[in-house]
């Protein structure tokens, strides 16, 4: 009994064997343990090879690059221009800008807890004590000081 050619067994697994040969090889393999073992080995190899699939991560505009003026020059090679630091620099700049804006906003609202009311009349004791020319914090200081009558 003549064994099946190994290349035919490979093509059988690859499903590229012509129907006539396929039938003949399959008939032989059913009765031949040697060829059956070989076929199993090829099948396993074929299946394992399938575990290595590749998927290009980036889809570049290759047609555009190939059409660039530089690439039109005969013998010249188009090259992919990469700026690895630009994205990082942009991220850092954006972070700084956000931090500055946040700091400005929080600082603005912490200084003026209550917006000053224009045209408000000072308390009467200010004029009594002659403090009209004092700065705007003076009434607050006086107001917060405890009266001497309540101490001790």
């Amino acid at each position: 009994m003549e064994h099946a050619r190994e290349i035919e067994l490979i093509e059988l697994v690859a499903r590229r064997l012509d129907p006539k040969r396929k039938k003949a090889v399959l008939t032989h393999v059913q009765d031949c343990p040697v060829c059956r073992t070989k076929l199993e080995g090829i099948k396993r190899t074929w299946t394992l090879l399938g575990a290595w699939q590749v998927q290009p991560a980036r889809h570049m505009e290759m047609a555009t690059l190939a059409d660039s003026p530089r690439s039109r020059e005969k013998g010249d090679r188009a090259s992919i221009i990469r700026f690895p630091g630009v994205a990082t620099a942009a991220r850092i700049a954006a972070t700084i800008a956000v931090a500055v804006l946040a700091g400005y906003a929080s600082g603005r609202w912490s200084i003026h807890l209550t917006p000053p009311v224009s045209g408000a009349q000072p308390p009467q004791y200010v004029s009594v004590l002659g403090l009209e020319m004092a700065d705007s914090f003076s009434p607050l200081v006086l107001q917060d000081e405890p009266s001497s009558g309540q101490e001790g």
């Binding site: 396993r44 998927q55 505009e61």
Partner: protein, 217 residues
Amino acid sequence: MSVAEYEPYCLPAAAKVFSIKDELPSDTELMARLGQGDVSALGTLAERHQTRILSVAYRLLGDWHKAEDVAQETFLRLRQAASRYEPQARFTTWLYRIVHNLSMDQQRKAMKAPVSLEDAQAEREDPAQDSPVERRELAEVVRNAVGELSDRQRRAVILHRYEGLSHEEICEVTGWSKSAVESLLVRAYENLRKNWRHTRILQIETAGLDRPKAFNT
């Protein structure tokens, strides 16, 4: 049912509208248009074949950056050759021949040039991080096993197993004789079978991966 059979039951204009063939130009037609200066045809060709070109170049070279260079150079060659392109074989076979030859040129250059640390880093970053460890290991083992084959055996297996080329097409792409291609394939698959026995692949398989799933690198 073809459009011609369907025609008695609908308006001829409608039949034309529904004929998908009319809307999709063949690769040869696109090459002719490109030869006449229609650059948009190059975009369509790129869209259609880019992934395939990148994949085969990556498998041959093992480096995405080099694969991208090869793919880009391939489209440049297409553009330059479009005006004198005469279809003698299938367009994809011709395309594979360009990719194969450019990859071999790239490989020769790489063998002369020293390996930089940057390249080594890029390679380590390639595998997807969100995949199960076993599957990644299996893909890595398979990739290494293919990489350990002789140069010609590796090229034959990549074109045969991953690109689905027939023996005749591999002959056209590589310029080898049919008997050489068949001999290379038989030896390559045999060497891979032997290689599996000496690697961790059995452990990985017994860990529940008897039927390996596809894994992207």
